[in-house]
């Protein structure tokens, strides 16, 4: 169990009539990885999960689990267990019966089932709740029962379909850590579906960012955040200030774009975009709000002039909403160091950024707010 079982999607297409839900997905998930599919709703990530678990057949391509082709096998023949978005706990069964359902269908005796269910209940810290009905549990408890039920089937791959989306913020954050711990303990491959980038980034070994059936980028969380390879990934994951313009020169992995409103700006060409950009191409440059800072530098290609529109206090940081030339909107986040950092509306600020934290990618569709 320690190494886990790999999952490979090879040129997988899923179509519903004329509608292409998933386009040419190629994903290699290493055994024992915590892998996330991240994307806005309707991007096809749940469809991928259903294809992996066997509820629908891909129109084309292969699904390999542990190197074995799963095409033509039903969900009950695959070494996967799915945790449903609504959990799908059996409402008429007690908690322990729910957990041991996979053993029941294999014909295990009640005693065996109860013993295993109690072990798993201990693991999820619900030791004395086994005789309750699911409806008597709280949201977080149900969540853990669903995980225990899936784990009881001893799957090689655990699939999770936005399991935390129904929980409140505190519980969600708690469950994130818990899920990660469970995954480390059991050592099996987790495939996790979410539209919440926070979840994806905190838990995953790798993240695949999807947009309308297409996988834009597969990388670890840090790369996704710091080194997005498309405009969509840059704008979908976290907040970003986008500047659009023509590339005027390229030097050493860095490029200068002539932005339409803010003037010449220098940034780093994204790893995924290297070789795809040349002088004269339209490009987009992204700078994170926390990548902007106050400065008294002289004018350069890493300095922007802007007027404060309004600012707000958010606990760990101040958010300053700025207006550059011709109404270019920007957001700057300044870490709260205990000093007053609220600016009057209308005051002019000199803003600078590190060219290595400004990422240049080819022009593409932005994630809609």
């Amino acid at each position: 169990m320690s190494s886990g079982v790999s999952v490979d999607l090879q040129d997988m297409w899923i179509k519903f009539g004329d509608f292409v839900a998933v386009r040419e997905a190629n994903v290699n998930i290493k055994g024992g990885d915590f892998f996330s599919f991240l994307g806005p709703s309707g991007c096809g990530k749940t469809t991928i999960l259903r294809a992996v678990s066997g509820f629908l057949e891909p129109s084309d391509g292969n699904i390999l689990i542990g190197g074995e082709n799963m095409i033509g096998k039903g969900p009950n023949e695959r070494p996967t267990a799915l945790i449903f978005q609504n959990l799908a706990l059996f409402p008429l069964m007690k908690v322990w019966e729910n957990i041991a359902f996979s053993m029941e269908v294999r014909g295990a005796s009640a005693g065996e089932r109860r013993k295993r269910a109690d072990e798993l209940l201990d693991m999820i810290a619900l030791s004395d709740q086994g005789d309750k009905l699911p409806s008597e549990l709280s949201g977080g408890q149900k969540q853990r029962v669903a995980i225990a039920r899936a784990l009881c089937a001893e799957p090689d791959v655990l699939l999770l379909d936005e399991p935390l989306s129904a929980l409140d913020l505190k519980l969600r954050q708690h469950m994130r850590t818990e899920l990660r711990e469970i995954q480390k303990r059991v050592g099996i491959t987790f495939i996790y579906i979410t539209h919440d980038q926070g979840e994806a980034l905190t838990m995953s070994d790798s993240v695949a960012v999807m947009k309308a059936g297409i996988i834009d980028q597969i990388a670890d969380g840090k790369s996704i955040y710091d080194d997005p390879s498309t405009a969509f990934v840059a704008s979908f994951v976290g907040e970003n200030n986008c500047f659009r313009g023509k590339i005027s020169k390229i030097i050493d992995g860095q490029a200068v774009i002539d932005s339409n409103r803010t003037g010449a700006l220098r940034g780093r060409i994204a790893t995924g975009a290297q070789g795809k950009l040349s002088v004269g191409d339209d490009a987009m440059m992204f700078i994170r709000p926390e990548g902007l800072s106050l400065t008294d530098k002289e004018a350069s290609d890493t300095r922007i002039m802007a007027e404060v529109h309004h600012s707000e206090f958010e606990g760990q940081s101040y958010n300053v909403f700025l207006e550059g030339t011709e109404g270019k909107e920007m957001k700057m986040a300044l870490t709260n160091r205990g000093e007053a950092q609220l600016f009057d509306a209308g005051s002019n600020l000199k803003i600078s950024f590190d060219a290595n934290q400004a990422v240049i990618v080819p022009v593409g569709e932005l994630a809609s707010e």
Binding site: A81, N86, L92, V105, A153
Partner: protein, 435 residues
């Protein structure tokens, strides 16, 4: 509402009263007639409180036979309709969406077809099948129970399907998927997950199917053959006039209905109460605890009262003997009748006296006396006159003298004597001395 005018409140109460009288009045009235000893279902005039109609009901073989047939038919109809309804509803959820509306219309159609048509067509169809298969006319395909069950199930299954469809709409197909995902076969997923979810719907559709079957008349009338169901027996009985044993039957049925309805209500309320109080659901299904059984559950109280009432009634019926009261009533009735007869006779006497006062009747002198004479006397040659036989057997003496020489003469009161017709028609004086 406080600010509602008195008039509206009174009107409202009146309306409710009328409404419930309309709704329940006939049932109550009929129930009461079952306890009146009068031989027609009535409450006024009230005779004697009695249970005789119940004993009469249980002694009536035809009703019991009909009841038995109805129960048989009901039992098999429930099994057939519930399973067909379940299958139909499941297909509805699985079928290709474009076909769904058509399928639905098709399967719901039997409800819209008159029962009479279903009855006839069932009969014709199976007779044809029977003929095609070359079976004898009294094979099981022509059996009344078989045909009635099939005929009724045709449309009762549709009712059941509607119940299942309503329940299935609340079923999360994700549960079946979860079961499959955990390694269950399709059959296991259905049996362990979906079927238990449908149990309440199965129960209610079974009740519905049984009631629909039990009260069905218009389909069964064509298909029952030798096996007349209760409704058919009752309708046949009505043609010869009804007696309160039918009320007794109705009363029993109403009591059973109320019993089960209350029982169900008690259970629902208990569950609701328990859940509202935050008790674990397991506690609801656990055993009976007397004090908590009634706590805050009006249905339980009504239920207990109802059961006590039934038990008391049955107990009373074992002890209570209406016979003395009945014989008293009978005596009274007889006395009243006697009085009436006497009054009638008195009137007759008076009439006759009045006639006598007017003067003696010359032509009918002998008739005047204590014994009234029917106008038919002396016709048939006095064959039936009281002393006729004496005459015939006793003496060969001939009243008519020469004419009679044979021993047979005068027998039969001279009916056949040649002059008899003359005698009978002509003079009555000849016979007069006989008296």
């Amino acid at each position: 509402m406080r600010d509602q005018p008195l008039l509206i409140r009174i009107g409202m109460s009146l309306y409710l009263l009328m409404f419930f009288t309309y709704l329940l009045g006939p049932l109550v009235l009929m129930g009461i007639t079952a306890f009146n000893s009068a031989s027609f279902p009535q409450i006024s005039p009230w005779e004697i409180f009695s249970f005789e109609w119940f004993s009469k009901l249980f002694a009536d073989d035809r009703i019991l036979e009909g009841l038995k047939n109805s129960l048989y038919v009901g039992f098999f109809t429930v099994i057939l309709s519930v399973s067909m309804g379940l299958a139909g509803a499941l297909i509805l959820t699985q079928i290709w969406p474009k076909l769904r509306a058509t399928y639905y219309t098709l399967i719901i159609a039997p409800i819209l077809v008159p029962g009479v048509v279903i009855g006839i067509s069932t009969l014709v169809f199976w007779a044809e099948i029977n003929r095609i298969l070359g079976l004898s006319p009294d094979s099981f395909l022509a059996n009344g129970i078989f045909l009635t069950v099939l005929g009724q199930s045709t449309f009762i299954a549709s009712y059941c399907m509607l119940v299942f469809v309503a329940r299935l709409q609340r079923y999360d197909i994700g549960l079946t998927e979860a079961a499959l995902d955990l390694g269950a076969s399709h059959l296991q997923a259905f049996r362990k997950i979906q079927l238990p979810f449908l149990f309440p719907a199965m129960a209610s559709s079974a009740v519905l199917a049984f009631l629909a079957s039990f009260e069905n008349y218009n389909t069964s009338i064509f298909t029952h053959q030798k096996f007349a169901t209760l409704t058919i027996i009752l309708s046949q009985k009505v043609r010869y006039g009804i007696d309160p044993s039918i009320s007794a039957l109705a009363f029993i049925i109403v009591c059973l209905t109320v019993f089960f309805a209350l029982l169900n209500e008690v259970r629902t309320r208990r569950a609701q109460l328990a859940v509202a109080n935050g008790a674990p659901v397991g506690a609801v299904t656990s055993g009976f605890k007397a004090p908590s059984f009634f706590a805050g559950n009006p249905a339980a109280v009504v239920f207990a009262l109802f059961v006590a009432g039934v038990v008391a009634t049955v107990a009373i019926s074992q002890v209570y003997d209406p016979e003395p009261a009945k014989s008293v009533l009978l005596k009274e009735k007889r006395a009243a009748q006697e009085l009436r007869i006497q009054a009638l006779q008195q009137r007759l006497k008076d009439k006759r006296l009045q006639k006598k006062m007017k003067g003696p009747d010359i032509f009918n002198e002998e008739k005047v006396g204590a014994k009234p004479k029917s106008p038919g006397a002396k016709t048939f040659g006095n064959v039936f006159a009281p002393n006729n036989l004496e005459d015939a057997a006793g003496s060969a003496k001939d009243k008519n003298g020469l004419k009679s020489k044979s021993p047979g003469v005068n027998t039969f009161g001279n009916v056949f004597a040649p002059t008899n017709l003359e005698d009978a028609a002509g003079s009555k004086k000849k016979d007069a001395p006989k008296e």
